[in-house]
């Protein structure tokens, strides 16, 4: 089920004018920032389908930039996100694409700073609800409705068990988990949806586990 809560339907409280193109867009920006772990210094924002055709009218542009600045859907500062980005040292560029995507409201955010970069594909599925469908080339399905941990690791035996053990030690309950890899034996990605927000020290410990290359999280 894509929509699980009554507040997916009666909500979110948001700045207009469009739940999919404004609120959903802000959420995609914010989840990308969360996954990156800090505010990026630059962002290349590729827009597909209806996003590409109507992003200016719907304020999709200010909303995504607002999300990258950590603004929530109801944050009035979304309106001034362009000016705020300049002050915050965030450069952005919008690239409307003509390619067909599976979902009509798709955005690919390539964000980065001096230390690294990340690519996140988000889709806005209606009513402000979003899904993350790809991170750094890995296909996944993440709703952003629950706190989640993303772990990039070498595709080796024992990695999953070690991460699960670490979470168990901190009494973190796993609600849903999936693993994907681009090619066997190379790099893999664990997506772990959990019941409560994760403290930084837990992430820190996971990052110390052998063969783990990167850990990021989404709080709720």
């Amino acid at each position: 089920m894509k929509f699980t809560s009554v507040f997916d339907i009666i909500g979110p409280v948001m700045i207009g004018p469009s739940s999919s193109h404004t609120a959903g867009a802000a959420r995609i920006g914010r989840v990308a920032r969360d996954l990156f772990g800090r505010q990026p210094k630059w962002a290349k924002i590729h827009l597909y389908g209806s996003f590409a055709e109507t992003y200016r009218g719907h304020g999709t542009d200010v909303a995504i930039v607002g999300g990258l600045l950590n603004y929530d859907t109801f944050d009035d500062r979304i309106k001034t996100a362009f000016e705020d980005a300049e002050k915050a040292g965030l450069e952005y560029e919008f690239i409307p694409e003509t390619a067909n995507t599976e979902h009509p409201n798709t955005a690919r955010l390539v964000i980065g700073d001096d230390e690294g970069e990340m690519s996140v594909v988000g889709i806005s599925i209606g009513g402000g609800k979003i899904e993350v469908s790809e991170v750094n080339g890995f296909k996944l399905r993440l709703t952003g409705g629950m706190p989640a941990i993303l772990v990039v690791h070498d595709d080796r035996a024992g990695c999953i068990a070690n991460v699960a053990n670490c979470l168990a030690m901190h009494e973190v309950n796993i609600g849903h988990m999936e693993v994907s890899r681009i090619e066997r034996g190379l790099t893999a990605l664990m997506v772990i949806e959990v019941d409560q927000n994760i403290e930084d020290k837990v992430l820190q410990q996971i990052s110390l586990i052998p063969y783990i290359t990167k850990v990021s999280k989404i709080n709720n």
Partner: protein, 302 residues
């Protein structure tokens, strides 16, 4: 995932068997799925209700969108009602005016609560705050109105779509109007089955409605589609309460809506390439507003 209902039939059956309101089943499911307490859930809906109330009030004072394309119609309608001239009835026109008020605030990038989306945010609160004057509900009953709306929206969102980009305006204002009709029936004392009939009758009359926003803005024709969504839902609620039933069951109407949305041209699904957006005037407006790029330049034009 365990849920209490997957479709309208299960929702109505459960409500009838347990002799509960639709809103109650929705609250119980929310508790079951999220593990949150009833109080937390009610409080969050109470806050959403307050946001809706404030948006209606703000719209009734008169707002203008950044483009100047929409705004001020809610005020015109209230003045007209006050003159005692309404032909369609004061309550109906009041609902229309309050739906318009909400969407005018939305177009002005004001704060609203999506029900189920921002573009269709006017119908549920518009009808609620109009029916309120006739039925004198308690605050709790007003909150229940939103849970009843939410229960039907939940079914549509999971079994069809509430996205204009996926299913056209029928998925947005059509769903919103059906949700409102069901909630009106419950508030007026109708049965769960009558809620379902009201939803079906409403959505049947919005099937095929395309999403063709001029310049891609949630303004023209979205604001007036909310007006008519509100009117549609009130009439359908009255029909259901009078005992009129839908020959096509509610879930099948929802299924039809989904398939119609799938077979709709992408030009008519929130891409601003067809319908009213592609009329000579629609294109001229689009050119004037968007030629220089971004909302920032829209402000500059003004």
């Amino acid at each position: 995932m365990d849920v209490l209902f997957h479709n309208v039939r299960e929702l109505v059956e459960r409500a009838e068997q347990e002799e509960k309101l639709i809103s109650e089943i929705m609250i119980e499911q929310e508790i079951l799925i999220t593990g949150r307490t009833r109080e937390e859930i009610i409080q969050q809906m109470d806050r959403n209700l307050t946001v809706m109330e404030e948006a209606v009030e703000r719209g009734l004072q008169g707002v203008q969108s950044v483009t100047g394309l929409t705004g001020g119609d809610a005020v015109l309608l209230q003045n007209y009602i006050a003159q005692g001239k309404s032909l369609s009835g004061d309550l109906l026109l009041d609902a229309v005016s309050k739906a318009v008020a909400t969407n005018e605030v939305n177009a002005a990038m004001g704060t609203i609560c999506a029900t189920p989306t921002a573009g269709s945010a006017g119908v549920v609160p518009g009808t609620l705050f109009a029916v309120k004057n006739k039925l004198n509900p308690t605050r709790e009953q007003m909150i229940r109105y939103l849970f009843t709306s939410g229960a039907f929206g939940f079914v549509v969102a999971n079994n069809a779509s509430i996205s204009g980009a996926e299913g056209g305006c029928q998925a947005e204002v059509g769903s919103a109007a059906g949700m409102a009709a069901a909630a009106i029936v419950e508030m007026a004392g109708g049965t769960p089955q009558q809620c379902s009939e009201a939803f079906a009758i409403t959505l049947k009359n919005m099937l095929g409605l395309v999403c063709d926003p001029v310049a891609g803005l949630v303004e023209v024709p979205c604001v007036k589609r909310n007006a008519m969504g509100a009117a549609n839902s009130l009439v359908a609620a009255d029909m259901a309460l009078a005992g009129v039933t839908s020959r096509i069951p509610c879930d099948e109407v929802i299924g039809a809506m989904y398939r119609i949305g799938q077979s709709m041209s992408p030009n008519l699904k929130e891409t601003a390439r067809g319908g009213l957006a592609a009329t000579p005037t629609g294109k001229a407006i689009s050119k004037a507003i968007l030629e220089n790029g971004g909302l920032q330049s829209i402000k500059a034009i003004q």
